[in-house]
Symmetry: C2
């Protein structure tokens, strides 16, 4: 294994990260994101070494459809968080980035003020990878940020794909941004997301829009009361805010901290983290097994013929699955 | 491969099923549910042979927490469906059956009238299998029922586990049963289920409960209007009904048929079926790969040591997943 010129040693990465060196952190994340086998081995050693220094953060997932004002919210809300003495890292999962060439965090200029703040670290989404791969990379990047001393992490995603469930599975608190004026403009959001949110923040509640925002808040509150309580006893809250006037932002931050305090007190915080770690393992096992399966030459060749027959109901989905998996694993003993 | 005494030949199964012979259908489902390798091969041949005769039904998922009156609803609603000249099969997915020894469809006596109707076929849930396995067996059982001439299928499940998403993925219409009086009694239902329902039916709307049911209907209607529309343009509806007075049941059946007509007209019906078939394949591949992985001796042994370390954050979930999958697939070429 030849060490590439622009790579550091494991020791250098670990020391740099633990010292809070942002350049080294950035390079370590690049390493984690790399698909080169030699990089992956190096990344694995680095991540394993920094594991004892991870976990000391509040992880917040933020989602919302395009147009909801996610960037400006994160810019304003992030600034408030940093101004209170926190170190903030912003990461992103964007399943649409392959198609749209990066609709979120495509360039740092999107959050100009925050990106120049020495206590904030903004990392654009890794492009061109499968969602399962992006997810693992984001998790490891999050761990690296924690080891580097960032005590608040935002994981940003767009509310239109598969990624919200994934983000929900890696954060302590899941915040859904919504626009006032229920109806057409909300149709972009994915089904099921409203119910998994720990809070809904109605954005752009300023000027002529304040009354509509208050009305939306009442409506969502009524709707949420029809839903089952969260397992942890938390009743999801609805807030209104404005990234322009800054109204409501402090209230949201207070709520998130109250959530943390309550969940640490009742044990849910650590229990959830522990369950998440096991789920990450399960999900990554699944992702790796599937990747290897669908990449295999014979499986690929078989599916060219069989997939259309599965689609039109000519062949049984279950039978074809059984046949191809048996073929794929034929050399592995079935204990 | 020795043919077991109580097994028929592929020919006998296929002919019996296509002739609508309920005894043969029942025995074919037993075959599909069997975990014996010889049975599985036989089942596979049978299912592949009947594939051209499948799909000609309306598949309806019905879910709701225990206490909502699911059995009595299915008994009354099923009778109405049958009385209109349909042939109805009722199947169940019950993830809790391992623990509770079958909380749904544990015995046929639960739906006494329906179970004695010659145009209804009620099949208790297969017990003691993993959910992914149960899911595949239920899908194949559904196909067998269709080939036997049943043109309406109910897939029943309890609204408290992982199974609703699975049922949603195998039906044309997903009906959620709810009780009036939002609040405590609804807490058993799983998050995200309300949003994926095509309709909510509020049960037990009789006697003193009618007013409360009408109020609940209004509230859910308001809440559902805050949600995004379904991809297919269908606005989920809220109905009230009583299995005792039979009020509202005909209305629900009319709605389901209107849904079918509309979705066939806009192409969603067939498109959804086609997508479901591909998902069944993907899910079963995943299930089989995972089963083989987690059953392997070395993987099992490794996890005894590593799982606690994953849980407490001592080892990286991603690294362990990578290590164990690489080990598991070490003899399979990585194309």
């Amino acid at each position: 294994m030849v060490k590439r010129k622009n790579r550091l040693s494991v020791e250098e990465y670990v020391e740099g990260i633990l010292a809070g060196n942002r350049v080294v952190l950035s390079r370590a994340i690049t390493l984690v994101e790399s698909s080169l086998a030699s990089d992956q081995h190096l990344a694995e050693e680095v991540v394993n070494r920094i594991m004892p220094h991870t976990g000391n953060s509040l992880r917040i997932g933020i989602t919302g459809v395009p147009g909801v004002g996610k960037s400006t919210f994160i810019e304003s809300f992030g600034k408030l968080v940093v101004d209170q003495g926190n170190k903030l890292a912003v990461l992103a999962i964007d399943p649409s980035s392959q198609k749209t060439k990066g609709s979120i965090l495509g360039d740092k200029t999107r959050m100009e003020e925050l990106s120049h703040n020495s206590n904030a670290f903004i990392r654009p989404t890794p492009a061109g990878a499968a969602l399962g791969g992006v997810s693992a990379k984001t998790r490891e990047s999050m761990l690296l940020c924690e080891a580097a001393g960032f005590n608040v992490i935002f994981i940003e995603t767009v509310g239109v794909g598969q990624s919200e469930i994934m983000v929900k599975g890696m954060v302590d608190f899941f915040l859904l941004l919504m626009l006032s004026g229920a109806g057409d403009e909300l149709q972009g959001i994915k089904k099921g997301i409203i119910e998994i949110a720990d809070a809904i923040a109605i954005t752009k509640a300023d000027g002529d829009n304040i009354e509509a925002s208050k009305k939306a808040k009442r409506e969502y509150n009524n709707a949420l009361h029809l839903f089952p309580l969260n397992d942890n006893g938390w009743r999801p809250q609805v807030k209104i805010c404005s990234a322009v006037s800054k109204d409501g932002l402090a209230d949201i931050w207070t709520m998130v901290q109250e959530y943390k305090t309550a969940m640490q007190a009742n044990g849910f915080f650590e229990e959830n983290r522990s369950n998440q770690r096991v789920s990450w393992f399960d999900e990554h096992v699944r992702y790796l097994l599937e990747s290897r399966f669908f990449q295999q030459k014979e499986v690929k060749a078989g599916l060219i013929d069989m997939l259309p027959k599965i689609k039109n109901g000519e062949m049984s989905s279950i039978s074809v699955a059984r046949y191809l998996v048996d073929y794929f694993l034929k050399d592995i003993p079935n204990d």
